[in-house]
Symmetry: D2
Subunit: 434 residues, 4 copies
């Protein structure tokens, strides 16, 4: 769903490897994925034209899948898994899929589950790792959250690599967002600096669906489904009162995908505000007044990163290193109230912030199936000696993506693109509120 | 579930009537309820003993049900329905049941649906009443909220009775909470003062389940079910972080029924705080610290009216005339954070306030069936000429309750009773936190 | 909800005891329930009148609750739990509540979980009992089914008591339906014959809600909620086709409570057929035709035990000893099709049998809270030396019910009572279809 | 997710048009889609290689989207909508989206809703069309089914075109499956034969997700989500009994996508049987026995079109012209029972067929958003004068697909592809059961 492009050199897509694959895969009878196929980066005629005109190869992601020969000897391999950052539907599904695939597909017998994010790789926190067995992970996918726990913020890569060496770990699976991916890259670089044979495979976790060069991330679809519950609530409250206003703050620090998709999924949203599309408070309030005078109620969805220009410059950063955001939900709530108070117009505003209820839910069926595959493909990638990469998804295929490609920028809703056009068409809100 | 008692004179239970029933009921072939049966007020041997010793009659509610002869002539009767106060699951079910019962059981052909609470009975608001037909109400029970809309606060009974007279309404159904019931009583008294033949029948609406002399009110069961979603969220977030704390504020201004029942329904709540059981902040915080040091996470449920002694005296009243409450959720959130900050103990607190998501949900199956019957019994009561009463529920029976009996005080959780004992047993929290 | 009555002698209500209570309860600080209070059996004025006229004591159930002194020494007590018969929502909740109450309230440290029903008490099946610890049962209430497994049919009481003696069990909790309760009684009698000090406490499990002298049983409310999903399906399918008919078979071998309550919960059901109300196929088919010609679609709910007179006499018995029922769902499906075929009227019938999907679901919030209390009260009863009884519920109180009182007959929907009247009023079906 | 390929000539992708676009689109301020862009058919490096080697253009679908100039004058245009075949989640969403887009984006004021499928276009059925207004369709997306009703089977294209002419319809939207698409093509050809200016735009409806050259169809994701409820049921029942077997029949006449995806979404399925992968009953039964002896329970998912070689040759066709299928669910149930009976092994088999409950459910959030866009793109396509095409989806883009391309064959699960490999990896079932 990336909606803009630049010409990409094919070597940006190359995946690092720990060494040659010399062990035959124990996965007998399955169709193996060859190393030389790829998933085209571009899908539109107009996108590939410049490459064709310049006689360039079309860029493509390496295709994920089990390889016929593998790098690690499963009999002596120990692995580790760590989950970082905020909760996201599907974390337990991914953990479970990695463990079961390591055990059943490759015969790996030791998987450490590090507790509470990168803290768990720093011995000074005294978090004893879990021993992740098929029995322990058997039913965890039916619960939200992460059995490993999580935390925000980085740890010293040197200390973390020391821990991996100390525990004899050959393959580390890192599940987390933008900051976590940078942390995984730092670990991979430290491993390379020491010339160790330890692979680092990531699975991007972003409920906001904002990781670059990955068309959809796990948990996002569940988040949209849960968000619809909140927007429905807002609608019921709005129509239940004279000049009722339902205001819902949804997730989306940099990117408004959840707010946009929840708007399309509900169809009763009248205003959708996202970080990518700036708006003037005055213009918005006047449009809201017009709506109330015409229809008697209104539903507003706002992504948490929207309208940041309405706040003072610098609010600092949180433990994950993310820029602190102004609380747009409360700002809107206050400004809407004072606006209508100023003109003696009675309103009834209900403010809804479902964030944690969304983050902690168990994965939907399609997310659950998606996580299962992500976990399996991560294991295949790791066993084949890939490192410093993440398992992505692109045009119905699972892909290998170099971490630098994924963290170079955020994926955003294109204000000129089709998703936003559908939102505008669905809400009927003014196309320009500046 | 009232858990205390005093000796009650039988005449408190007498229901006002508009006059003699002279019309045969058009409900052919059904079993009619006689006027002379009653539902015993007391259910325990120890409760009835004092009556027996003093040779007193056992007090009993009049039993709800269709009567063989009725007061109103359905052919010329017009009715009205009004919903007041905050949203509550089941409002649309009750509206629908009243309309369908009036039409199909009695042949009434005109039902006004007043908009936005008592405002709708005051012509100066210009709210045109809806014409409630079976077609219009056919599918409304599948949606949360109220098709009539609602508002808080009283209106002048004189003006409202003028409206009833002006529209030729013989029977008014009033759905609302404590304040609304007082409003209904005021209307009934004004009608009596003018010696009019207009009945006023109420159906108590209290998501808090705190109406006196009614053992369960509609919407409460749905609210508990939805509350469990929040406490589950809190638990997932709590175990997902080191020293994770999930704090959930649930409804319950005066009575902690929802908080208590949600605690029993989840079983993963560690502290349940309700208005009826005072606590010392210090004792609570120390108990919380102990829990965290032992188990690493905690889930806290707090009813919105709990801990009000922690606030300054008088916060004023809202539009419904209810005493304004201090925001115990935010107070606890702040105090917990500062307590652990003071001792340099890292915690991760997630605060969840699901109020609107609970209020706006559609009724659960059992609430839906309950509302259907409440509506039907309200119609039977109204057609028989009863007035100034509400339809209650007591020991598996539907009852007629004089409004004064219902508004004399609030139903509360008995700190010495079995419900609270089960909560204490389930949470393991200190029995006394003073 | 019992709707008929006979004069009951008070001694029918007496609960058997193993001996005197000599140990102080370890539940400090809780309000204990005295032995001498009781829950009145009757709740209506007309019901108690004959007792008063004859100067008889009003019959009452013994009240459930923790006693101040107990029979067993928790330090040396071992307990067992067994679940029998078909699955029912809440089984795991009850198991969990018993285990946690035994551990945390009384300090019992050994609880055997017998596998696959009474088979688990017969060593010839080689089912090793589970060691039920708080950790093992911690999260089981979030899943449907029974962690112990279940089976149908009796085992020799002598062998089962041998097993209890062999394992040193002092208290056996039996969760099951009518047949299981008879089995529990047989065990209790065999224990008495041998003059052993082993208590047998039952918790009645009947998704049909048909256990006598218990006003509601666990799982029933969840079953009604799930049933509504099926009736909604039937309605959607019915209106989606010309002369669409949605036919839903619901549970209810002897009693139509689920079918009746699901009808009230959905409000779009046009015909509700239950075992207690016989009907003529011809009359029903003509009423159905009339409905189709008028409205173009129809929804029918049929309890599995309805219309048994349409089958040949004796179909034998199943493993639980229950009379085999004719398959009324398929019979109706076939007869409806041939009826309309005979008159060349095109219909589109969709047949839905959701039985297993209902039985296997996890308990709803209110059922979950109910099961928690049932389990706790069962433990309190058992620790106090009660035996050959079950934990019941009556007029908002938990009660002790002698097993013979519960199995003497089935609780049924009264065709002259209020529940059925509400169903008739809601469906508009002919009052008499004979 | 098509997993095989042949070289495709670009002209297969050309969309028929009624004439030149001469009216400016009334959609001001939106980004219009140019006519000359396209969505690449192929996404893999190995797929495009042969084209590059032969110097051929890469085939591409025309891209869906609003055009700057349109064919029809909205002021005088009347439209029609018809839904055919079995119910599918999202039908009402699509109807609603078409109506709202016609009204709000283009100003069309007359939309006929034909009742009960193609029957509604044949006057001899006397089905009066609905007048589809924004008010009427406002809330229909919250309900399952189709407000228009549906039916199976074709009608004479001549008669249907007569109806379109008679009602002055310029644009017909046809929502249905394989047979319906052929019907739409027949209508389009008849229109062309008469040289009329009537457009026919289809939206493919196939809960089985088996329409060729469309990567995902609406309702499929919801169906998988609902299917998981059934497989979870089967698992609960299976583990609840000694040698418990849960057998679930899911939809999938020709293609096993639902069965495969439900297997991945549940992760507790042990055998997945689909039409594309033949199996020997003996081999399957032996594998099942092995599983039971090792683990004591098993869950089996079978697509309805699986194992058809086990039935006699020709079972005829249904009203839609689809080949009648042997009932593989009941066959497996019977054969499993007799197999284990023959070796005196006690089993407990529960058979679950959730078909109607799945078909009648309301669309999930992501399906709802998907349907909204499908409806909008169908309107854009129709207004631009396209005809004899359907709105598809390919690699995250909405596309125009000539109907002949979509009905030339069925989309199937590739037994050598990645989806099936994931199923095999997840179930652990034998790779080959022949």
């Amino acid at each position: 769903m990336t909606e803009s492009q630049t010409l990409l050199p094919p070597d940006e897509f190359i995946i690092s490897r720990l060494g040659d694959c010399t062990h035959p895969s124990p996965m007998r009878g399955m169709a193996f994925t060859p190393d030389n196929d790829g998933v085209l980066y571009h899908t539109l005629k107009t996108e590939i034209q410049p490459y064709q005109e310049q006689g360039l190869d079309l860029p493509a992601f390496e295709m994920a899948g089990p390889r016929e020969t593998i790098f690690f000897d499963p009999d002596i391999l120990s692995c580790g898994i760590v989950t970082c950052g905020g909760l996201c539907p599907g974390l337990n599904d991914v953990i479970r899929a990695i463990v079961l695939s390591l055990y059943h597909h490759y015969g790996v017998r030791k998987v450490f589950g590090f507790r509470y994010g990168f803290e768990g790789l720093n011995p000074s926190y005294y978090h004893t790792p879990l021993d992740l067995t098929p029995t322990l992970v058997g039913g965890i996918h039916q619960k939200g959250g992460s059995v490993l726990g999580s935390s925000r913020g980085p740890q010293d890569p040197k200390i973390m690599v020391d821990t991996l060496v100390h525990l004899g770990i050959g393959l580390l699976f890192v599940i987390g967002g933008d900051g976590t991916l940078r942390g995984a890259e730092a670990i991979a670089r430290e491993i390379e600096r020491r010339d160790l044979r330890i692979g680092v495979i990531s699975i991007p976790k972003t409920i906001d669906n904002d990781i670059c060069n990955v068309d959809i991330s796990f948990g996002y679809e569940t988040a949209v489904a849960e968000s619809r519950r909140s927007t429905s609530t807002a609608h019921v409250e709005a129509i239940g009162a004279r000049n009722g206003i339902g205001l819902v703050k949804l997730m989306g620090r940099e990117s408004g995908f959840i707010a946009a998709a929840a708007t399309l999924a509900n169809n009763e949203v009248n205003f959708c505000l996202i970080p990518e599309v700036p708006f003037s408070l005055d213009v918005f309030l006047k449009a809201l007044e017009k709506r109330l005078r015409l229809r008697g109620h209104a539903v507003i969805v706002v992504g948490e990163g929207a309208g940041q220009s309405l706040f003072d410059d610098n609010l600092g950063a949180d433990a994950s290193g993310n820029r602190k955001l102004g609380d747009i939900g409360h700002l809107l709530k206050d400004r809407i109230k004072s606006y209508f108070q100023a003109q003696a117009m009675d309103i009834s505003l209900k403010y809804i912030d479902p964030s944690y209820m969304i983050r902690s839910t168990a994965a939907s069926a399609s997310d659950s199936a998606f996580c299962l595959q992500l976990g399996q493909y991560a294991v295949h990638a790791g066993m084949s000696g890939r490192t410093n990469m993440l398992v992505g998804h692109w045009n119905n295929q699972f892909t290998h993506v170099p971490i630098p490609m994924a963290v170079q920028s955020r994926k955003k809703v294109d204000p000129q693109g089709k998703l936003w056009a559908s939102v505008l068409a669905s809400t009927g809100q003014p196309i320009n509120m500046l």
